[in-house]
């Protein structure tokens, strides 16, 4: 502060440039470290029933099959919602300060816990309202609707798993 008041013209320019570049560096560093939490590449392991290789769906098993995504968009689509959330939180943190994303994340956590029994699909109404997804329609609402999925988990097993009895 004091330096700013007693500074000469070239000094103020340098100070502004320093603070600006420092500000920019801090933001991107924060964003990069957050992006590390995205779904890892190894999460692409093909899963059939009982954890066995599903040849009908994913072809023969090979190391290449398990490491690389089957489609260039697969990774980016899997991470899309988390990335959007991170971008929004980062922007909020820069504009309004740390309290805004902290409070919002607390609400997200609370909303995420409002679920039905583990084998039933929840509508996630509170979470959608928080994210703003209740006012938009995308492919995730039209294609592959989880409420109409043909696979279901075994109810008793899933309850036991959830209660830790398994």
């Amino acid at each position: 502060m004091l330096r700013h008041e007693n500074a000469t013209q070239p000094d103020t320019l340098v100070f502004q440039k320093e603070s600006a570049t420092h500000g920019i560096i801090m933001n991107t560093r924060g964003l990069r470290s957050q992006l590390k939490d995205s779904v890892p590449v190894a999460g692409l392991c093909p899963q059939g029933a009982y954890g066995v290789q599903d040849s009908m769906r994913s072809g023969f098993s090979s190391v290449k099959n398990e490491l690389l995504p089957s489609h260039p968009l697969e990774l980016s689509e899997k991470n899309f919602q988390p990335n959007q959330d991170k971008m929004n939180f980062s922007t909020l943190r820069n504009i309004q300060g740390l309290h805004a994303p902290l409070k919002l994340q607390m609400e997200y956590r609370a909303a995420r816990q409002i679920q039905r029994l583990p084998f039933l699909q929840s509508s996630n109404l509170a979470l959608d309202t928080l994210r703003g997804n209740d006012e938009s329609i995308g492919f995730e609402d039209i294609l592959n609707d989880p409420a109409q999925s043909e696979m279901m988990g075994e109810p008793h097993m899933m309850m036991e798993y959830k209660l830790g009895m398994l």
């Binding site: 489609h71 968009l73 006012e135 938009s136």
Partner: protein
């Protein structure tokens, strides 16, 4: 029936489960010599022009599936909102689903803001969606409409880039149509002049490009209202047969006539068991 013992909750949206299997199938098919069926494209001429009072969008009406014409009269000008319409070129399913999704989103947005939607909003939504899918959604669009700020015309490419211009063309016949525009476009044209210009541009695409054909559809959007003219011009009428190979009655001369009377001896009805 195999159920997963403990499954993760399925998410909506695109599922990439069958991509590897499809790649293997395609490799097998090319080994044998056949190929998988092609998606229906609209291989098209679409164009738009801004005139004095608004925007005119024009499109041809042919949809192709590889080398075959799948639909001789398909509608390529899609509704987005009462004051905004969008022509679509590229994969037919992609353009239709994309415009329908954006139309729904824009309706929700308009209900939320309470205002007539702006063309820039539709443009922004479209480009963000197309960029998210990195060009895999093959939809090249010409978006035009009139809102509170006047008439606007945008062209949107499958990868998500957009241009805001006074006249645009897209599709396989875009070069032919653009040639006509470049020659005869003037700013602030009258409605009739602009309609004739768009009609000629789409006709140039129809006659000089194999992927475009049949009729010309026009959509005139002004502040006062909307005029969806389908078809505006039937450039390619299906031919009428000039001759007939059927012989007329009396062509063959009758030499003699003999009549055989048949008696009905018995009539039975066999009921069918439809249970």
């Amino acid at each position: 029936m195999a159920t997963l013992v403990v499954s993760q909750s399925p998410v909506g949206g695109f599922s990439f489960e069958n991509c590897k299997r499809n790649a293997v199938l395609e490799a097998e098919a090319t080994k044998v010599g056949s190929s998988l069926p092609a998606a229906r494209k609209t291989g098209t001429t679409i164009c738009g022009v801004v005139f004095k009072d608004g925007v005119i969008l024009g499109a041809d009406t042919r949809a192709t599936e590889g080398m075959i014409v799948a639909d001789k009269n398909c509608s390529k000008i899609h509704y987005i909102s009462p004051n905004i319409y969008c022509c679509g070129a590229g994969t037919a399913a992609d353009t239709e689903m994309t415009t329908q999704i954006i139309s729904s989103n824009l309706e929700l947005h308009a209900l939320s803001t309470g205002r007539l939607p702006r063309v820039a909003t539709a443009n922004r939504m479209l480009k963000q969606m197309l960029f998210r899918y990195q060009g895999y959604i093959g939809a090249a669009l010409v978006l035009g409409g009139v809102d509170c700020n006047g008439p606007h015309l945008y062209s949107i490419y499958p990868h998500g880039s957009t241009d805001k211009l006074p006249y645009v063309t897209m599709g396989s016949g875009s070069l032919a149509a653009m040639a006509v525009f470049e020659d005869r476009y003037k700013p602030d044209m009258e409605e009739e002049q602009a309609k004739q210009l768009v009609r000629d541009a789409v006709a140039a695409g129809i006659f000089n490009d194999l992927g475009s054909g049949s009729n010309i559809d026009l959509c005139v959007i002004t502040k006062g209202g909307l005029d969806y003219i389908r078809p505006h011009d039937e450039a390619n009428k299906k031919g009428v047969r000039t001759g007939d190979y059927k012989y007329k009655r009396g062509t063959t001369g009758v030499l003699s006539k003999a009549t055989l009377n048949l008696e009905v001896v018995e009539e039975t009805v066999l009921t069918m068991d439809t249970s």
